[in-house]
Symmetry: C2
Subunit: 333 residues, 2 copies
Amino acid sequence: MLERYRSLAIDALLAGVPSGGPHYLYDLVSEYPRRWGKGLRAALCLAACRTFGGTLSVGLNAAVTVELFHNAFLIHDDIQDESEQRRGAETLHGEYGVGVALNVGNMTNLLALQRLAANRRALGSGIAWRLFEETQLMLRHSLEGQAIEVGWIRDNVCDLDGDDYYRMCLKKTSWYTCIYPCRTGILVATGPHDAVDVLDRYGWYLGAAFQIQDDALNLVGDFARYGKEIAGDLWEGKRTLILIDFMRRCTGDERERLVAFLRRTRAQRTAAEVRWLHGRLLAYECVESARRSARDLAAAAFREGQRALGPAAETEDGRFLLGLPEYVVERSR
Amino acid sequence: MLERYRSLAIDALLAGVPSGGPHYLYDLVSEYPRRWGKGLRAALCLAACRTFGGTLSVGLNAAVTVELFHNAFLIHDDIQDESEQRRGAETLHGEYGVGVALNVGNMTNLLALQRLAANRRALGSGIAWRLFEETQLMLRHSLEGQAIEVGWIRDNVCDLDGDDYYRMCLKKTSWYTCIYPCRTGILVATGPHDAVDVLDRYGWYLGAAFQIQDDALNLVGDFARYGKEIAGDLWEGKRTLILIDFMRRCTGDERERLVAFLRRTRAQRTAAEVRWLHGRLLAYECVESARRSARDLAAAAFREGQRALGPAAETEDGRFLLGLPEYVVERSR
């Protein structure tokens, strides 16, 4: 079902990208969407829409919108993190330079806004305005979450705990990956006057579980399936739950070495240091510990989803939504 | 009057930036607006609004919106061009890194969208939707213009002529600097059902004249007033009308040397080469030739403005609009 919803949204997304125009623009907007992705965000949106009485055609613009915002976010995020690989191939800025990639990210955001505006004709001005407001809120959370994360790296913040991580994760991941797709799916199905927040808690837990599994795959995944450079998060100095756990449990000497490592820029870090840190994270079982937290969060998402869906939990889409928590923590890519 | 309108818009812009939040976000959104800028775009919007019967308070949200988009554009453009100086100080990414600056640019765009949405309550849904549509159109032109320019640099395109330059300039500069501010100013003044394109030709000529003078100041300006590194465009390999003119008139040997220079990345270029090119542009009087074109464009903007404004040309705001063509080509910063 994930695959079916993903295809539906990505096909519609690609069909909506203008052809022609200057080089290095619309042709490159399609680059990341054409590479394989899970389509989780589009599927959440379409399933939420159907669960609350909408049709696929009613939800399609919203599903395409969230995938476009996601792809724009990936392009910009890869530039910010100086990432090398995305979805099994070179990042857009690695291949075409930062100047081109930043612009393509901006155009992808604009195409998302245009999709959003298309709901005015399709679903009326009331729903379209509410969608626009939901989008502003989602973008605010995402950019604030991103600012928290880049700020930690810039200031070399090393005294973080799980709560700090979860606050950042709610903003940076859960909101745009799960909460926003559910809210907009519900909104287009039920109209502008109903509550759209019934799946918020489900989405929050699901997003956190998703992010932690993503962080784990970055360290122990298989590149051929995961599609990003393994241990890239360590090269980037990302404050994952795994790294935070190690920070809090390591010896004084290890901490000193870690802080010195994190103080360097990405270019100054060496493969030997990354290997050392990678080994320490495994020796302390930080990945296993984080994955236990992810499974707890997935269980909480399941319970919250069941509570929110009520009898709709038994529909095809309800079952799909309730199957996602297990999927996000067991996936290998 | 430019100064008065600038202050009005920038004060409202700064007052609307949220306080608090994570570090390296809202505090940095205010960084470029706080540095001195001309405020041309806000002033065009407010003057167009008043000339067509609107009040300053009716036009203020639109004026703040265009200044926010402009500041976001500057932040991203500086990253794309690897510029070092902006408005007399270090660029945002130079000071805080690309990760932070890209995010601050995105947040500045979001604040622009929020300002735009604020018109719904103030001016009604009809005008607000039209503003949203105008904004989508402006963003499309700007991003396409930017793609043309980064594409020329990336592909080391050297067989350009004036028409290529003007097509790029219409999209990259004129639309968001002049045409969009005039259109949105007229729109909020006259309502959602009237034509908003009456100042398009004025704005197109004005924007081209503005851009050429900007390119000239980059080569012959005074850093203390101009605020960007002198000859920065040469370091960046920017295809200005000045450079294009030289490409078409230089000797075969000079052309060979120029093409080799442009083929290098910014980091590979040397001060000696930049000095040579700078000297050649002056020796061929390419700057003077481009400034003559700018003055012709300014005269055309004046004529088109006069024609479009009719009797309103005699109002205080009409006189201001008709004074801008001379201002943009005579300014020293």
